[in-house]
Structure formats: structure tokens, C-alpha cells
Amino acid sequence: MAEHISIFVENKIGKLESITRVLSSKNINLRGLSVASSRDFGIIKILPDDVEKAYNVLAEEKFTVQKRKILVVEITDRVGSLHDCLMVLKDSGINVEDCYGTVINKTSRAVIILEVEDIPSAQEALKDGKGIRILSEKEIAGL
């Protein structure tokens, strides 16, 4: 099962940089990133090329960090494709907890990262979606 990394950070200057510094020093590349913040703190989610390594590095550096299961879905990079994908989930009664996306360079494909409550049902629902493809862990690492 694919995973990304969630990091709890206080809302203050230099927090994001402290994470990217650690990752770049260990030669870890990022495929995607999202930031959500509350008043005094926020959650940074990253999709690194090597999840296990990134997790260990951040944990060693005493970050408050957790791995979370995700679905990484490839869709066509065109107007309405994300909407189509989300409609499939909605119609199956699957709630999307978090979602961020990235566009693959020099292709007509985009990738979105989804956190959902019920991953197997989401997988099942997305299986037959037109122009929608769930990526394997190997494919994610190779993005």
C-alpha cells in the first residue's frame, strides 16, 4: 500500500525550510507536497521518492511525523478530469480526507494524491474510471 508522510509543525518562520533542508541533505526528492494550517500549527504532507528513508530521517531529526496510507491516481491533464475522478468517489460514498496534486512534466498526465477513509472501496470504485489509473508503489517511486 502506498504511503506518504505527514509532519506536525508549529506555525512559525523557517519550519518548512527545516524539513526541506533535512530531506535535501539526505538526497531525498519530493513528488508532491501540501500544507494545511490551523491557527498555531499546521500539517505538512509530502510524497517523497523514498518514503521509508524520508520517514526515518525525519524521525531521527525529532520531527513529529507519521506515515499515512494513500491512493496515488493518474489522470489525464485536462479540464474536468479531477472532477470526473472525484465524482466516481462521491458516487460510491467515499469521503476524501485530503487531496493534492502534481503534474508530470512533459506528459499529458497528472497525478493526484488522495487520502480516503476506505482505501479498498476507493480502489474498487476507481478501477473502471475512464482515464483514471491507480499507480503502484513502484510507479510512484519512479515518478
Binding site: S6, F8, S38, I43, K62, R68
Partner: protein
Amino acid sequence: MFWVRDIETLLPEKLKELQVSLLDKTVKQAIKSPFYHKKLGEQGLTGISSLEDVNSLPFTEKEDLRSAFPYGFLCTELKEAVRLHSSSGTTGNPTVIFHTRKDIDEWANLIARCMYMTGATESDVFQNMMGYGLFTGGLGFHYGAEKLGMLTIPIGPGNSKRQIWFMKEFNVSVVHILPSYALRLQSLLREMGLDRKRDLPHLRIAYVGAEPHSEAMRKKIEKSLDVKAYNSYGLSEMCGPGVAFECEEQNGLHLWEDSFYMEIIDPETGKVLPEGEEGELVLTTLNREAMPLIRYRTRDLTRIMPGACPCGRTHRRIERIKGRSDDMLIINGVNVFPIQVERVLMGIPGIGTNYVIEVKKDKFMDKLYLKVEVDNKAFKGTLRDMEILEERVTEELKAELSVTPKVKLVESASLPVTEGKAVRVYDLRNT
């Protein structure tokens, strides 16, 4: 002005004689309670015949009150007791203090004596802005003010507009108010478009207590409100307010030695210190029926001021309270022990073991700030979970402390780790 001239000006030798007889009476009364029956009985103590004998009496601690909850200190039959008060913000069992009708009357008399000493008379109109209920500040002053004969407005705390409306409409001349709130009053008046001199022309006296404040703060209150502000000292274990009070000299608080026997001790060794040295105030009640307390350790740090007061009263003065010999914090009049905070935090999954408490002044009010480390092992990774966690910490602390803290979740391992005894409490109110 003397409420009871012969007592207030009793010659020191006579006062000591009175204390010896009252102390003996107190010991004999105290033995009627299960706690002292055991404690004093073990030492074969049945009374005292000189002030030196007091040294042989054991100390009583707040912890004793808790451990003997609920009736371990009660010396009369329950039907003799007419009231109980309970201190806020305690760990485990609350401390409960019982009063007979006579105890309440003596207490009211002491407060009347305090207020009369500062020039309040039956012609004054008194607004009591302290909390009524288990807290002694409200009811204590209420009974005293009625005893004195003032028109008493039992408004309690909060609702500034209503406070000011009553003050204006009823020509209030005397108020009992938290020092932090007294400082705010002037700006509240201005916000309401009112002028102190024009709209509250009768206001002249403010009693400030329930939380320690500096001389500078008193001066500020006096200047901003154009009143005389008198410092009040008391604790619910002794009765409440009325234990010690400033006279018009405003130089130290006369501790009523016909009602309380005072000692200053070294909080580390328990040794009684000579007059004038700073230490922990230890008090013995002299007139209480329902619940006399012997050598009660108040944990308040002060000293006895040597020399006579120009006002003519012979009861010795203590200096304003310098601090505590334990770590209790007083937040807008509410007692808060850091251990309560710790106990709440340790009971919440997802919270780590490290935290920092800060107390600051925010618009003249005390504000409790809390930085709490999250437990990285319990971190689930969603923003919503953290928001819920922060709300839960705030709510549980509020329920425990009766103070609403401003909670901030911080990353695990981000707060400083100290060697040995961790410093977790920063009182930044006077900085």
C-alpha cells in the same frame, strides 16, 4: 476609626494574655475533631499555658485538610454547622471549611472592622464585585458590609456594563474588586463614554485582594480610578478575607491578633523566625468553633513589620505577600497548582510529557498560556485530529482549573529539557 477600640488598641502584653487563653481554648476545641484528636492525642497535648508552648504544637498542612475530607476537622456536631466554603483549584479532594453561626458572625465582624478602619461607614454604598459561592471573597465581604450597615450590592463579578451602570445609578462609593479588574475599569469607563469624576463622583474606596499585587499596581489603581485602594489578605482556611487589612496609613496589613495567632517560619526547616525576618506565615485560629486550625501553613511569604503603626492599633502588621513557598499560582483570584495541569495533560492520549506554563498579563487580566508537546507516537497525521486534541486539552483544563487557558500544541521534543528539576512555570506578570 475603631470598630472595637479596646480590642484594636489592646496593649501588647494584654493581647498576649488574651492569645494564651484563646490558644488554650482553641486546642481544647480542636481535640474534638477526629484529626486533632489523633494528632494532638498522640503527643499527649491537651492545652497550652504560655505562648512558648505553641512551639510544641504540630503544624497543619493543606494536605491534612484534604486527607481528612470531608468531616475530619469538624469539631462540632453537624447540626451546629451552618455553612461550608471550599477552596477552588485543588488536586484530589477539595479543602472544605465549616462555620457555625458564631463563626460566620465573628468573620463578618472582622470584615466590618477592616472596612470601618479605612473610613467606610453605614452611609456608604458598597458594590461587591467578587465571586459569590464557594469562594470566600464575595460572601465574606457581603456579610461584613451588612454588619457595618452599608447598602450592599451583591453584583458579583463580570458584565462590566452592568457593573458600571449600578455604580453610576446608586452612587457607589466603596467597591471590592480584583486588582486586575480595577485596572481595567478606567478603560471600560472610557469605552462607555463615561467620565470617572462626572459619572461616578462618589467613588472613593476600593478593596483589592484575592490575588497578590505589587505596590506599583496599587498606585496605578489609585491613580487611574482616583480612589484609595486598600490591600486585603485572607485565606479560606482561616475564614476568608478579614485576616489582615491595611489601615489608612497603607503601610502594611494589620493582622487581627485577637482572632489569629501568627508566626513566621523558615519554610525549609519549620523553625520560627524572629520578628522582622521574612518567611512563611503560619496561622492559628483563636475563635473558631466548627473548625479551628492549629499552626496552619499558609505557604504565603511575608514578614512581620517591627514597630508601632501611627494609626494607634497594636495588632502587628505584615508586609504585602511576596510570593508562595509552594508553586501555587493565583490567576485572577483562582488558585492553580501546576500539578493539576500536569495531571490533566497526562490523562490525555496524544499529549507528550513536556509542557510549559506561562502566566502573562493581557489587558490587565491574568492569562494562562500553555505550550504542550504532542506525543509523536500518537500522532495520526491529520490536521483535524490535532485541532480536536487542542480543544480537548483546553476543555479539560478549563474544567479542572476554572480558568480558561490558551493552549498551544507544539512539536514533540521542541521544548527545552532541563536537567534535574524541570522548570515548567514562568510567571511573567511582573516583567
